[in-house]
């Protein structure tokens, strides 16, 4: 039929490397972040007064000078909160908006000042006179353990097989401990919220938040109103990384309380230093382990305790410490295993979600004992890894009793080993180190396996809203938030694909709680898995209606209605997409649909430590080579090769971006990013001048990143893709082990380096010195 032209692909469909849908605005400075919105007339600016001690009772809180300061409109404390005074996301009532009697960490909000300008409020906040009765603070894991293991939430135990017998019977044993540092998110856009009061007791809050639904519930809770009185809007965040999953609640709640009180719009944007002091970070851990293995390096039993500094409240620590345990196997089968978590309460800021959510710490500990085994046996750690890989038909059950059915470790690692020329380079490095007195090199190749799904079952659901207008343009809204990861681009690609229209016809609007209700946090790498399916579901509902309409109107079979690029073919007729949309409107077809998705087939019994918490696993592997200066501990990451599994990519350009960015962020965690508290519990690294995330020259000179293009998700995900947000973070583990190898060269690799993280130049040099001393002593 001559009306049917040859089929061409749409522009921006699924699997195309389309650029970020806001890219042209980012570069022009015209992408709006909350601080860029034009403030409503009369907007007040809030600033917080923070505690300056880690633990104590407030004896007096004298705010007279604050109130009297120029430009100040008012001051609010805990007593001024109309509803509940607590915003604990875990409903443990352990997270007050403002400390009222007891201060439990340094940097805890005590009051908020409202000023005509931000500067006025900020200056006034410094005038508070607070006296405390100081109490001894518990600041870190060691202190919390000495003080009796007070927990913020019950720990978890994963157990399979007889670990006691396994250890006792193992031909060889290694026991040790590793300290793993935390990490500041350092989202470039700091925390911010803008509240606009409405009629009745309604409140609209623009919040830089990954979980607007929770912000909505928290704001309603502190205002003492129903959830339907509160609308949260998130157009985009300037980075989140988990730091805006629960940590945004506070700022949104405070502006809402103030907006209600003063009947004016209120904006709150803490200074960077205050942001870092008062918001949670990645959990730091101390992991004690005892591992039994045979002469070939095959693990027989693992017994480990993961003690985490959770800070003063539970926040999300349960899920984080759980995920540390569920990833303490990384890619390896343990015939007998017992891993336990201790989520410890401390007088520090409440640690929270951060890309990987405990997984990186679990995997780093795991790779530590792999490394220990390798050094104990004098073998290449990669050989130990391969000897312990999960099997495909057997040796395939995790410590939480889930059977792994999608294992691609052998092929993936084999391909990377070949493409990175690992064996030859390792031999060369060993030879180089023989001859080079000061500079030493190291290389490591480490796989990863990361479980995808929220462990809290209810969160594994999503909604989306799709409208088709009469001109054929499409409006898409879904429950996920955009923080730079390209989620909106991917979801729009899904919808464009369903309708077979170019991506430019699909507009994604700001995430809003009045469009898609009860949406889960954009977290756990789940954004495209969940929202992609929900959006596809919504679009397919409309598509089905369109097919039924066309079939009836033109008297053809449903199978004769075809969606071609920007056109719809009905039997022997061909319409442009826009013409067809107009016809559908005139034919009274409902051109709007709400889509829904829930992840099938997952389950989790935390009390038993059993279930199928993950729908599938994402895999990857990286090989890193470094050079270390043994006089100073300075180092350079010379080359990195990565092969990563994203299933069938929804957008290879965005996925590569997530891998490169995740890797560098993980490298920062393990190298230069060091959180440093003083003896009084004051964080002293609270600005980029003191807290050092990677800069451009830290990027490896050779940085080969490839997707495992042959992989497709065996689980029925959107387009058979896999989640990509968190897993690449852990690719950086190979940098850490390569640094350890370079250090170990000074003792001829006879002693396991056992470096703690992060491997700052100082820690590298002190490790080298320790190894030299041990080598001399032995």
């Amino acid at each position: 039929m001559d009306t049917l032209v040859e089929r061409k692909a749409i522009i921006g469909g699924m699997s195309q490397p389309h650029r970020h849908d806001s890219g042209h605005k980012h570069v022009a400075g015209s992408a709006d972040y909350i601080d860029d919105l034009i403030e409503p007339a009369g907007t007040l600016h809030a600033y917080l007064g923070l505690s300056t001690i880690a633990h104590g009772e407030i004896v007096t809180l004298d705010l007279d000078a604050v109130r009297a300061a120029p430009g100040v409109v008012g001051v609010l404390t805990a007593d001024d909160i109309p509803g509940e005074r607590d915003i604990s996301p875990s409903h443990k009532n352990d997270e007050p908006v403002f400390a009222a009697r007891e201060v439990t960490f340094s940097g805890q909000p005590l009051f908020v000042v409202l000023g005509e300008t931000r500067e006025a409020a900020r200056r006034a906040a410094r005038l508070a006179k607070v006296t405390y009765r100081e109490l001894p603070p518990v600041l870190d894991v060691a202190a919390a353990r000495l003080a009796g293991d007070a927990l913020v939430t019950p720990g978890l135990t994963l157990e399979r097989g007889d670990v006691v017998a396994g250890l006792a019977d193992a031909p060889r044993r290694v026991a040790g401990s590793i300290t793993i540092g935390g990490q500041e998110h350092f989202y470039l856009e700091g925390q911010i919220a803008l509240a606009i009061p409405g009629e009745d007791r309604d409140m609209v809050v623009h919040s830089s938040a990954q979980h607007p639904d929770e912000v909505q519930r928290m704001v309603a809770r502190v205002l003492g109103v129903a959830d339907n009185a509160v609308t949260i809007i998130v157009r985009r965040m300037g980075g989140g990384f988990g730091g805006k999953e629960s940590q945004s609640n506070l700022f949104a709640c405070i502006v809402a309380i103030a907006a209600r009180t003063f009947k004016r719009a209120v904006k709150l944007r803490p200074d960077r230093d205050d942001d870092i002091k008062m918001t949670g970070k990645r959990h730091d851990f101390v992991v004690d382990y005892d591992v039994g293995f045979d002469d070939a390096g095959r693990i027989e039993a693992v017994d480990a305790v993961f003690a985490a500094r959770c800070g003063h409240s539970a926040d999300l620590s349960r899920g984080v410490t759980d995920r540390a345990l569920t990833h303490s196997d990384n890619a390896y089968f343990y015939p007998a295993v017992r891993v336990r978590s201790l989520p410890l309460r401390t007088n520090t800021v409440s640690n929270t979600a951060f890309r990987g959510y405990g997984g990186p710490q679990g995997m780093l500990a795991c790779e530590r004992w792999i490394e220990d085994i390798a050094y104990a046996l004098g073998k290449d750690p990669l050989e130990i890894r391969k000897a312990n890989f999960y099997g495909e038909a057997e040796r395939n059950v995790t410590p939480y009793h889930q059977t792994i059915t999608d294992n691609i470790l052998e092929r993936l690692v084999g391909e990377l080993e070949a493409s990175a020329d690992y064996a030859r380079r390792r031999a060369e490095i060993l030879a180089f180190n023989e001859k080079s007195p000061i500079l030493k090199r190291g290389i490591a190749l480490i796989p990863l396996k990361f479980g995808i799904s929220f462990t809290m079952l209810a969160l594994n659901q999503a909604g989306a809203l799709v409208h088709v207008y009469r001109d054929g343009s499409v409006h898409l809204n879904h429950g996920g938030t955009e923080m730079g990861q390209g989620l909106h681009t991917k979801i729009a690609q899904v919808v464009a694909d369903v309708f077979q229209i170019d991506l430019e016809h699909v507009k994604v609007s700001a995430t809003a709680t009045d469009k898609v209700p009860n949406a889960s946090s954009t977290a756990a790498s789940s954004g495209s898995d969940l929202n992609g399916m929900a959006a596809e579901n919504a679009a397919q509902q409309i598509r089905d209606r369109l097919i039924a309409f066309a079939a009836e109107k033109y008297g053809v079979a449903a199978g004769a209605v075809l969606f071609e690029p920007n056109a719809v073919v009905v039997g022997d007729k061909r319409f442009s997409w826009a013409q067809f949309a107009e016809q559908a409107y005139l034919g009274r077809v409902q051109l709007s649909a709400a889509g829904f998705y829930k992840t099938p087939g997952i389950s989790w019994n935390r009390d038993a430590g059993r279930g199928k918490p993950f729908l599938y696993f994402a895999y990857g592997a990286s090989c890193s080579e470094v050079t270390v200066d043994t006089l100073t501990g300075e180092y350079m990451v010379d080359r990195v090769d990565i092969l990563h599994d994203v299933g069938r990519s929804l957008n290879p350009a965005i996925d590569i971006g997530q891998i490169e960015g995740g890797f560098i962020q993980g490298m920062g965690w393990l190298t230069t990013e060091e959180l440093w508290w003083d003896a009084k519990g004051q964080l002293r690294t609270h600005a980029p001048s003191t807290y050092k995330i990677p800069v451009v020259s830290d990027v490896p000179r050779i940085f080969n990143v490839r997707l495992a293009e042959w992989s497709e998700n065996r689980a029925p995900t959107i387009g058979r893709s896999k989640a990509v947000g968190e897993p690449p973070f852990m690719l950086a583990l190979s940098v850490f082990e390569a640094l350890g190898m370079a250090a170990a060269s000074v003792a001829d690799y006879r002693i396991a380096p056992r470096m703690d993280a992060p491997a700052t130049p100082e820690r590298v040099l002190l490790t080298i010195e320790r190894l030299k001393r041990l080598a001399r002593g032995s």
Partner: protein, 487 residues
């Protein structure tokens, strides 16, 4: 006394701005975002470290009109008199299409969350104008002062290398209008002293250095602001009242070689000093490239680095090792002080009220002298020093005849290691001598532990830097990780 003008004038993109009421502590970023509601330029840290607020500032110098990237968050508006400020809003073309720098960033997926992006665009724009085909090390140096937390930088570097495929820097708006703008800025140079009175206090811009000397006699307590890379933080972080302020950017900005002396005006920025120092003391290049980021090097001055007396400033140790002297001036009285004597104690320097540093005289090390300076920091680039060691040693007939060694980060001031020097002088230039001298470090220094380094590491690395110096001067094995080799 020169005539007085009571307002400042500068160009903001294509418009002349005249301000008679801008407070002495108003930052350029707040001026843009709050006063002008130009919100393309972002605030990420308010301390000159993240680069989200990067804009270009064009200023007249001997070479004509130069544009440099700066951090708007710590640049004070009063220092912009006679300048041309270019923000991200100036880049898109009249028809709305993107600038080559912007288009390259979009096409190479150089933005994810996008918050840092305008700052990267402006740093790349500044680079592209002066170096349209940059090599990788040049890209890295130009972007040291911009933090990105999403992309891992790789796509930004790819974009940077590709910009010239999208347009010709020679026909860029700034280039096309350079002569016009130069004329406009020249027309603003009226030789006046600027005095602006505001409810938040007064600021003054001297007409010239003699006028500065006069002003400081009248206002000895004024805050002297050159690059504001330090004072900017007094404003944004400590909310300190800095008025009255005397802005000295543009004064004392000559650098000249006089025989075997480099004479550096106190107002010369790190960037401004780079070419001359690189030509005559190339050993300092790896250090100069690691002071702050590009924006900070374009703003900050060597005079300011000395004047503020920090124990961890990057230039004092090598300048002390080189035997530098500074000229201090009060009114018309000048005196010369050895740099090492200028630093008396923590927070205390040999500078009287009303006195200012006018210039620094740096002897060029003789060809037969060994000289090097090594900076140790947690992160290689754009970090504050943990320990910085500078070494100048002369060996005659195999024996050390002279040794001057200075450290930063090891004491309350930048300080010489006199016991170590004494242990070296007169001894043979051998590793055994170096090793024998190491215990002397304990006599010279008792370093502190803080978040940059522990006392243990500081002491260990200080000693090892002396070993590195010896080994490096000996040649042979590669012993020192340099930043990615310079193209």
């Amino acid at each position: 006394m020169p005539p007085i003008r009571s307002h400042i004038r500068f160009y903001l993109n294509d418009r002349l701005v005249t301000l008679s009421d801008v407070a002495p502590d108003r930052t350029l970023l707040d001026f843009l975002r709050l006063d002008r509601v130009m919100r393309g330029t972002k605030e990420g840290c308010a301390e000159g470290d993240c680069g989200a607020c990067t804009v270009l500032v064009g200023r007249l110098d001997e070479a004509g009109l130069v544009y440099e990237s700066i951090n708007a968050c710590i640049r004070l508006v009063g220092s912009l008199d006679g300048c041309h400020v270019v923000t991200v809003e100036h880049l898109a073309r009249a028809d709305g299409s993107l600038h080559p720098v912007q288009q390259a960033m979009v096409d190479y997926h150089g933005s994810q969350c996008g918050f840092c992006t305008p700052g990267f665009v402006m740093s790349l724009y500044g680079l592209w104008l002066t170096n349209p085909e940059p090599a990788l090390p040049e890209i890295e140096t130009a972007l040291q002062g911009n933090l990105c937390r999403c992309t891992g930088y790789a796509p930004i570097v790819r974009a940077a290398a590709a910009i010239s495929h999208y347009g010709d820097a020679a026909t860029d708006t700034i280039e096309v209008e350079r002569e016009t703008m130069r004329g406009r800025l020249q027309a603003l140079q009226d030789g006046h002293r600027v005095v602006v009175e505001t409810p938040k206090g007064q600021f003054v811009i001297p007409a010239d250095v003699d006028d500065l000397a006069d002003i400081l006699l009248d206002m000895p307590g004024a805050t002297l602001v050159a690059g504001s890379t330090d004072v900017g933080l007094w404003v944004t972080k400590f909310m300190r009242d800095i008025a009255p302020v005397v802005f000295i950017r543009g004064l004392m900005d000559e650098i000249a070689v006089d025989g075997d002396i480099i004479r550096i005006g106190a107002g010369v920025s790190y960037s401004g000093a780079f070419a001359t120092i690189a030509a005559h003391i190339p050993q300092l290049v790896p250090l100069l490239d690691r002071i702050g980021g590009g924006q900070v090097r374009n703003m900050g001055t060597i005079g300011g680095n000395i004047a503020n007396g920090s124990p961890i400033g990057d230039t004092p140790p090598p300048l002390i090792a080189l035997g530098a002297e500074i000229t201090l001036r009060r009114g018309n009285t000048r005196r010369t002080v050895r740099l090492e004597d200028y630093f008396i104690a923590y927070g205390q320097q040999d500078r009287a009220k009303g006195e200012f540093i006018e210039s620094i005289a740096v002897p060029i090390p003789a060809a037969d002298t060994f000289f090097a300076a090594y900076k140790i920091s947690k992160r290689r680039d754009e970090d504050i020093t943990a320990v910085l060691g500078a070494f100048r040693i002369r060996v005659e007939g195999g024996v050390i005849s002279d040794a001057v060694i200075a450290y930063g980060g090891m004491a309350a001031t930048p300080r010489r290691a006199r016991a170590v020097e004494a242990a070296l002088i007169g001894a043979p230039w051998t590793m055994a001598t170096i090793e024998a001298a190491l215990p002397a470090f304990e006599e010279d220094f008792q370093p502190l532990s803080d978040w940059r380094a522990s006392a243990e590491y500081r002491m260990l690395v200080a000693k090892n830097l002396l070993s590195r110096f010896f080994l490096e001067m000996q040649g042979g094995h590669e012993i020192h990780i340099l930043r990615h080799e310079v193209a």
